[in-house]
């Protein structure tokens, strides 16, 4: 068997918070990502879903090295990334790219589209100026932007078009993996559909793998082959797309799916819905045992004690991994 493109093992990212001791050590740590493991195969898209504060964005940023990992490992084609120096990262920056949520904040307002797209090409040493110019035009064509707009500034584009510029920039170095952090959640539905279709088309065309972070399960379902569900810094379930949607196993996955509103009054008003009680607990002070047990609608029924005191491990069963005592 060949190696997966990306292997994430026991990845953790803790942030020091609160008052510090005399020596400057933090007294408290926020466990944003707390032991996450998954693999991404070449050309396969993994959707990472969960609610705000569950650690999905931190997870993505730690993988691409924007945050140093607290512990655990991230391997790209077998090469450990967490211990690389800035210089050592450079060849992998080309292979692993990122698209951000806010297309307004992630483009330099003082650079033209040509300059924005030329920067990665220059950095990775891809071609002479003339070749780079042609490459920029073909990138614009690939993401559906008018090549005549190459001298425009970001503020002259709409939100959807700006996200296309962000995508073109990510494609510049011919990456194998693109980490997409909520790339469509700032966009209106009619524009969102355009970008989702574009991402699907580019994946086929360039044989890309995506790590796709989103809170919108319907968008993830359209774009991803596998889905990982995160809650309070941990993965609770990971499985092929159809398994997650047809046959969710973790009580949190079930509740999350049932909370998604359907744009159809007949379904919406007749279906059974699991309404969870309470809020997501603070990652500063996570509950003991299974992090989901205080809100779990099933924990009380069986073996409640184990749920309260023992953290369930993510166990692999066939093609599905699950972290639940009730299984």
């Amino acid at each position: 068997m060949t190696r997966p493109l990306l292997e994430v093992q026991n990845l953790a990212k803790h942030f020091p918070v609160g008052p510090r001791t005399f020596l400057g050590n933090a007294q408290q740590h926020l466990h944003a990502v707390d032991g996450v493991s998954f693999n991404i195969e070449r050309g396969v898209s993994l959707g990472l879903v969960g609610e705000s504060g569950c650690g999905k964005s931190t997870c993505a940023r730690t993988i691409v090295g924007l945050h140093p990992a607290t512990s655990g490992s991230v391997r790209y084609e077998g090469v450990e990334l967490t211990t690389l120096s800035r210089r050592g990262w450079l060849p992998y920056r080309r292979k692993i790219q990122m698209i951000f949520q806010d297309p307004y904040a992630s483009l330099d307002p003082r650079q033209t589209v040509a300059q924005i797209l030329d920067e990665p090409l220059k950095l990775f040493g891809l071609g002479r100026p003339r070749e780079r110019r042609l490459r920029i035009l073909s990138l614009l064509e690939a993401v559906g932007l008018n090549p005549r707009h190459v001298q425009r500034y970001p503020h002259e584009f709409s939100g959807g078009q700006r996200q296309r510029i962000g995508i073109a920039r990510a494609l510049a170095g011919e990456p194998d993996l693109i980490v997409c952090d909520e790339p469509v959640s700032a966009l209106d539905v009619s524009i969102q559909a355009q970008i989702v279709n574009l991402l699907a088309e580019l994946r086929e065309r360039f044989d890309l793998a995506y790590l796709f972070i989103a809170h919108d399960l319907a968008v993830v379902r359209h774009l991803c082959d596998r889905i990982a569900v995160m809650y309070l810094g941990r993965l609770v379930e990971e499985a092929p797309r159809e398994e997650i949607f047809k046959n969710p196993s973790h009580p949190y996955t079930k509740a999350l799916l049932s909370a998604v509103p359907y744009p159809d009054p007949e379904i919406e008003r007749t279906r059974e819905r699991i309404v969870l009680r309470g809020d997501v607990p603070s990652p500063l002070n996570p509950p003991s045992g299974c992090p989901f047990h205080p809100r779990c609608h099933q924990a009380q029924e069986v073996s409640g004690d184990r749920c309260k005191h023992l953290v369930p491990e993510l166990l692999q069963k066939g093609d599905r991994s699950l972290a639940c005592h009730l299984d």
Binding site: S190, I191, F245, S258, R269
Partner: protein
């Protein structure tokens, strides 16, 4: 007589780039206890409509025209002091972001008692008691001790519950809810929507729900009005409008929403192009540049919202012809 009757409401802003017609002549009626879903994309004018109903458009640069009748009174003609007696009392509003619409410097109790003391002349201790009852009603635990807390001590879902409780304290006849669940996670959104439905059952409050989320509207609204570039392009009972949308924009909007039960082997259908710049509106139908069925006449005259031949429904696309009257039967 309807509870709320809006006629030709328009709001324009004079800006450096020209006149922006954020709301461009909309009319609708609402009955007691009804929920109207006002949907549309960003910039379609749905939030400005809500603000205009309560006279909350800053002027200058905003200029408002048209008539709003509420409960037999023309509130669009009221003076500012008279309007203040209506706001938070007979009509109240809940906003999208409870963190920016609650005062961070005042305790929950201080903010909640204000409306009761102002509108209902309650004593402070009586107002505190009623505020605690209100918080209990929206499902907050230990309501008495919450009154002494500040907004930052509560989670997003709890803050939104406080906003709802505050909006309902004076038992308003009409509640304007502007994207009340957009800032919340889906599991919390489900809780808040359930809560609003329950409150409505109990008090018979009419609700205008402004949202971009068609799923939220599908589950809660009795009727839906779809807005595009400052106008209502289609209006009708929720079930009919979702099942058989008449206007090409509504059709495009509904089919571009990814669903949990749609076919993933197909591309998502999307609407090409982007919404028009409100400062530089095209002549004719605002949707014409993106419309799949566009005709030459669409580009010259802007169409009016007219009854579409099916009872309770209206539509602003002159190209729509009622195919059959099957859905008109109950």
């Amino acid at each position: 007589m309807p509870l709320l009757s809006v006629k030709n409401l328009a709001v324009r802003f004079e800006t450096h780039h020209g006149t922006v017609r954020a709301v461009d002549g909309i009319s609708f009626d609402m009955e007691e206890g009804e929920t109207l879903g006002l949907v549309g994309e960003s910039g379609s004018g749905k939030s400005v409509t809500n603000l205009a109903l309560l006279g909350l458009i800053p002027s200058p640069p905003g200029v408002m025209s048209g008539q709003v009748h509420f409960d037999g009174q023309e509130i669009s003609a009221l003076s500012e002091p008279e309007l203040r007696k209506v706001r938070g009392n007979r009509i109240s509003m809940i906003f999208q972001d409870p963190m920016t619409s609650l005062n961070p410097l005042l305790t929950i109790g201080r903010q909640m008692t204000e409306v009761l003391e102002l509108h209902k002349g309650k004593s402070h201790s009586e107002a505190l008691r009623l505020a605690a009852v209100g918080l209990g009603e929206v499902g907050l635990s230990e309501p008495e001790s919450r009154l002494a807390q500040y907004p930052h001590e509560l989670s997003g879902g709890m803050r939104q519950r406080v906003m709802i409780a505050m909006g309902l304290l004076c038992e308003p006849r009409l509640l304007l809810a502007d994207e009340p669940t957009t800032a919340l996670d889906v599991t919390i959104q489900a809780q808040i929507l359930e809560l609003m439905a329950e409150v409505q059952r109990r008090h018979g409050t009419a609700i205008i729900l402004v949202t971009h989320d068609l799923g939220v509207v599908a589950g809660t609204a009795d009727r839906v009005a779809v807005m595009y570039a400052g106008r209502i392009v289609e209006e009708g009972p929720t079930h009919q409008l979702f099942k058989n949308p008449h206007h090409p924009y509504t059709q495009g909007l509904l089919s571009s929403v990814p669903r949990l039960d749609s076919d993933t082997s197909q591309k998502l259908s999307s609407i090409p192009g982007t919404p028009p710049d409100l400062a530089e509106m095209p002549p004719g139908c605002a949707f014409a540049p993106r419309c799949p069925n566009v005709q030459a006449e669409c580009k010259s005259e802007r169409p009016e919202l007219l009854p579409s031949g099916v009872p309770g429904r209206s539509n602003a696309c002159p190209l729509y012809a009622p195919a059959d009257s099957a859905e008109a039967r109950p």
